[in-house]
Symmetry: C2
Subunit: 192 residues, 2 copies
DNA sequence: GAACATATTGAACGATCGTTCAGGTGCTCG
DNA sequence: CGAGCACCTGAACGATCGTTCAATATGTTC
């Protein structure tokens, strides 16, 4: 029992962050109050303010966590050949593991927050830039003959479709059109 | 002066709704309090609750207003031939008149609200369904030889790209990739 | 002009919000 | 042992929230 107890108790800061993410995903920003986060994490109200200076820095930490998940999507899988590596990354966005309501809803809330709060917008813009750069790098590795500009263009076009794909998946799942969109991304990326 | 005064005074209900939309677009749902709406509309707090039973019904009215703008995008322009009518509708989404930050941000807030509130989700789903049906009808008129199912598929694929296009435009304007995306939508819609 | 419905105001209510703070627990180190 | 430190608690504060309501203004009807 000691092990379980310890496991449940350690790293309350992480549990607070996860509680904030859970609430943000399920109820939107209106559902994220310091008290609600404390309740969801099973800690006292004071502890939330102890680990996070104020509410803004708690939200900021949550947004950085979402950013990490985003960037992981274009992390190169070095066990594969460049072309397969790119295909794998493009398929990953439609992977059920990533296409969960919780993750998509989090992204949406992040975007909505970025509109209202300049500080959050910077975080979002930086994340998007890193994502596109990762995608362009994958394309360049698979099609070395393409100019960096051309790779950037293709990455931007794919980004548009993927954003739409995520949004569509969230608003009303349509498996078939998601599959077709993934295939369209592959065509754009790998065209000769 | 009487005319101006009258113009400014009449239909305070409409001015309240517009104030709510403006705040929702600029500051997100956290910025929409009954008091803030009253201040923005230049009326008293009590009047907001007089015209809208409670906050939820005010937000609901705002969402219905956004829905109207959406549907207008696929309203057939009967002065044009079917194919041009479809092209015009597809170009309309990238029209600067619609691609304003205010309108796009409103859509985003609508989507975010739909995630958190079942009531708002229904409004959003209905709007999306109407939009896709309108798009499919435009495609069918331009390509009568296509089956209704095929038209629906194409409309769904275009919807994915347009959602991504709107989102991308909002997060960081990239005129070139928007232009390419519009062209891609035309190709999908009009392929033989 | 009296009666009436409609429109409009701002004060007031209890609830909840973010933040602060004095205090309490458990641990380490000299 | 006790001083020091990091972690944690819940009460309390003032601000703001959504909602209600009595009072007033405005316009229409008989």
């Amino acid at each position: 029992m000691r092990a379980v107890d310890a496991e449940e108790k350690v790293d309350r800061q992480a549990r607070i962050l996860e509680a904030a993410l859970r609430l943000l995903s399920l109820q939107g920003i209106s559902g994220v109050s310091m008290r609600a986060v404390a309740r969801e994490a099973g800690v006292s109200l004071g502890l939330v303010n102890y680990h996070y200076e104020d509410k803004t820095s708690l939200i900021r930490a949550a947004l950085h966590r979402i950013e990490e998940q985003d960037i992981a999507l274009v992390e190169p899988d070095l066990t594969l050949e460049p072309e397969e590596r790119l295909r794998a990354a493009l398929k990953r966005v439609a992977d059920p593991e990533f296409l969960t309501t919780e993750y998509l809803s989090l992204r949406l809330q992040l975007w909505a927050l970025a509109q209202a709060h300049e500080d959050f917008e910077r975080i979002n813009t930086a994340a998007q830039r890193r994502y596109r750069a990762g995608l362009a790098a994958l394309i360049h590795a698979a099609r070395p003959e393409l100019s960096p500009d051309e790779c950037g263009e293709r990455a931007a076009d794919i980004d548009v479709i993927q954003n739409g794909l995520w949004l569509t998946a969230l608003l009303g799942l349509d498996r078939d059109s998601i599959g077709r969109s993934v295939r369209r991304c592959e065509e754009i990326a790998l065209a000769d």
